[in-house]
Structures are given as C-alpha cells and as structure tokens.
C-alpha cells in the first residue's frame, strides 16, 4: 500500500509541476501582447505629433479665425440690416400709434371741453337767471323795507311829535318860563282834578 501511496503522491507532484509550467507560459504570452499594443499607440502618437505640429496648428487656427471673422462680419451686417429695418418699422409703428392715440386723446379732450363749455354756459345762464330773480326779490324787498321804514318813521314822528315840540319849546324858551306865571294854570288843573286827588288820598290813607 505504501508504494501505491507513494506513486499517487508522485503523480500529484508531477501534475502540479506541469500545471505550473503551463500557467507560466501563458502569462509570458499576455505580457508580450500588451507590450506590442503599447508600442503601437506610442508610434501613432508620435506620428500624430509629427503631422499636427505647431505650424500646422497655427495655420489651422489662422484659417479658423479668418473664417470666424468672416461669419461674424456677415452676421453683423445682417443683424445691422435687420436692426435698421426693425427700427424703421418701429418708428413708423410708433408714429402711427402715437398719432392715433393723440387723435383719440384730442378728440376726447375736445369732446370734454365742449361738454364742459356747455355745462359752464348752462351754469352761467342758470346763475344769471337766479341772480336776476334774486335781484328782483331784493329790489321788491328793499322797496318794501324802505316804504315800511318811511311809514315807521312817519308814525314815530307822529307819535313823538309832542315830545319833539316839547323838546323844541324847552330848548327855545325853557329858561324863560317862570313858575310863578304857571301858578294859576297849576292851581286850575289841581282844582279840576281835586275830586280824584282827594279820593285817592282818602283811599290811600
């Protein structure tokens, strides 16, 4: 049995050595392929750098700049033309709109002014009529008051005439009327009213 075991172990060892060798060979192949690919890439890069060198790039840049400037100039010209056209149209539009608005506004103003004028005229006419009416009323009232005042003054004069005459007499000859000259008149009046005086004195006492 030990031999069989030994043979089996040696077989396993041999198989493992063979597998190791195989794997090593495979790995060496893959590394070789990678190296060749990198070489290709490096070569292409070197060629590109060789083709697209600085001069060529500068040439391309100049051509691109010129082309860009050309396109930019053309577009600017178109834009300017469009802008002018648009400005012109906008001006016309604005003129038309403003004229229209102004016409409407002036029409409204004119209408409003006409209405206001009409109202003012009507108001003035009404005021004038009222003033005329009031003037008539005031005139009538004033005439009535003047007539009343005249009548009142005449009445007052009539009523106070005695006082006026008395005042006049008093002012004219008041100092010259002697009481002794009036004695007879006073005694006569007292005598005439003696009955009433006596009666009142009796009643009062």
């Amino acid at each position: 049995m030990t031999i069989w075991w030994l043979i089996l172990i040696l077989s396993f060892i041999l198989a493992g050595g063979l597998a190791f060798i195989y794997v090593a060979i495979r790995l060496s192949r893959v590394t070789t392929e990678k190296k060749s690919l990198e070489d290709f890439e490096n070569a292409a890069e070197k060629d590109v750098e060789h083709i697209f060198n600085d001069e060529f790039r500068e040439e391309l840049r100049n051509r691109g700049r010129l082309h860009f400037e050309k396109i930019l100039g053309e577009n600017a010209m178109f834009l300017q033309q469009d802008l002018r056209l648009t400005t012109s149209q906008l001006n016309d539009y604005m003129k038309d709109e403003i004229t229209k608005e102004l016409k409407e506004a002036f029409a409204n103003y004119e209408s409003a002014i006409t209405d206001a004028k009409q109202l003012a005229v009507e108001s003035i006419e009404k005021t004038k009529a009222t003033i005329d009416e009031q003037r008539k009323v005031l005139t009538a009232q004033l005439e009535k008051e003047v007539a009343d005042e005249k009548l009142r003054r005449i009445t007052r004069f009539d009523e106070n005439m005695a006082d006026v005459v008395n005042h006049y007499v008093l002012a004219a000859i008041g100092n010259q009327i002697d009481l002794n000259d009036q004695l007879e008149y006073i005694l006569g009046e007292l005598e005439a009213n003696k009955k009433y005086i006596l009666e009142d004195v009796k009643n009062g006492a």
């Binding site: 009539d158 005439m161 005695a162 006082d163 005459v165 008395n166 007499v169 008093l170 008041g174 009327i177 009481l179 002794n180 009036q182 004695l183 008149y185 006073i186 005694l187 009046e189 007292l190 005598e191 009213n193 003696k194 009433y196 005086i197 006596l198 009142d200 004195v201 009643n203 009062g204 006492a205």
Partner: protein
C-alpha cells in the same frame, strides 16, 4: 287826623305851610329831641352853670307860636313831639315835580292849596323834572296826574298835526 282830634275833643293843631314835607317834619323831630336832651341836662346841672339855651329854628318857633306852645314847658314839647310823630306817620304825602326849582312863596301857595282842599296836614315832596318844560306832575299814593306842557302836547297831538299839515300846505303853495 284833624277829624280824630275834633272827635276826641282835643284842640286841633295847625301845621304851618313852611313845614311842607317829610324832611322838615323829621328835622323838627330831631330838633325837639335835642331840645329835650338839653332840658334834661340843664335840670341835672347846678343852677348858673348850665350851657346856653340852643337857638331854635324858625320852623320850630313858627310851629310852636302858631299853636300857642311854650317850648320851655315839657308838656308842650311832648305834645309837639307827639303831633310831629303822628303827622310823619299818618299824613298823606303828595309828590309834585316841576321843571325848575320852585321858590318858597310858590311852594307855600301850592302847599296851602293842598292843606285847604285835600288834607290839613298834607305833606308835599318836591321833585325836579326839566323835561316837562312847564306845569307839574302830581303823584299821590295810587295815581299820577300829569299837568305838564308835554302832556298837553300829547293830548292836543291832533291839533298839532293839523297845524303842521296846514303849515306844510301853505309852504308848498308858496313854493
């Protein structure tokens, strides 16, 4: 009051016309009181050392003389005082206003008329009212009698108006 005296049998006293108003009555009462005081003081003092007798007013002398009273007698003085007190309290007072201040003679005549016709002890209170121009205004306790020229003008206003209108017409025709 005179009637009361006659009914009671007492002698009726005379009130001179110079004593015409309440003011004079009060003045006489004060004078009588002064005299009474003097007499009392003279009786108290020693004989020969009395103060000289005060001079009495003309009104008091007239009142006493007219009624035969002796002012040196206490009884007469008492009667006079009582009389003046009664007159001052009971006599009717008549107000009379003139345009100017009346003279004493004029006042005496007016007072005499009132004493003769209205009441023997009637007292007159004088007033001054220049606005009445002429005449007088008499006022008793309840009534007023206007005998002034102003009132006469009021009464004759119609005549005055007629005269003025007549004058105006004449003046208008003349123009």
């Amino acid at each position: 009051m005179a009637l009361e005296h006659q009914k009671s049998g007492a002698r009726s006293l005379e009130l001179p016309v110079l004593i015409f108003g309440p003011v004079e009555i009060h003045r006489l009462q004060r004078e009588l009181e002064s005299l009474e005081d003097y007499m009392t003081q003279a009786n108290i003092r020693e004989k020969g050392k009395q103060a000289p007798l005060p001079k009495t007013s003309r009104l008091l002398e007239g009142l006493a003389g007219n009624n035969n009273f002796n002012l040196l007698l206490a009884e007469d003085r008492k009667k006079l005082a009582t009389f003046l007190k009664n007159v001052g309290m009971k006599a009717p007072v008549i107000h009379i206003s003139f345009a100017a201040d009346p003279s004493s003679a004029f006042t005496a005549k007016i007072v005499a008329w009132f004493r003769t016709n209205i009441h023997p002890y009637a007292l007159v209170q004088l007033g001054l009212q220049p606005s009445i121009a002429a005449g007088c205004v008499v006022r008793t306790s309840n009534k007023s009698f206007d005998f002034s020229l102003r009132n006469r003008f009021h009464d004759k206003r119609a005549l005055l108006l007629e005269s003025i209108e007549g004058g105006a017409k004449v003046s208008g025709v003349a123009k």
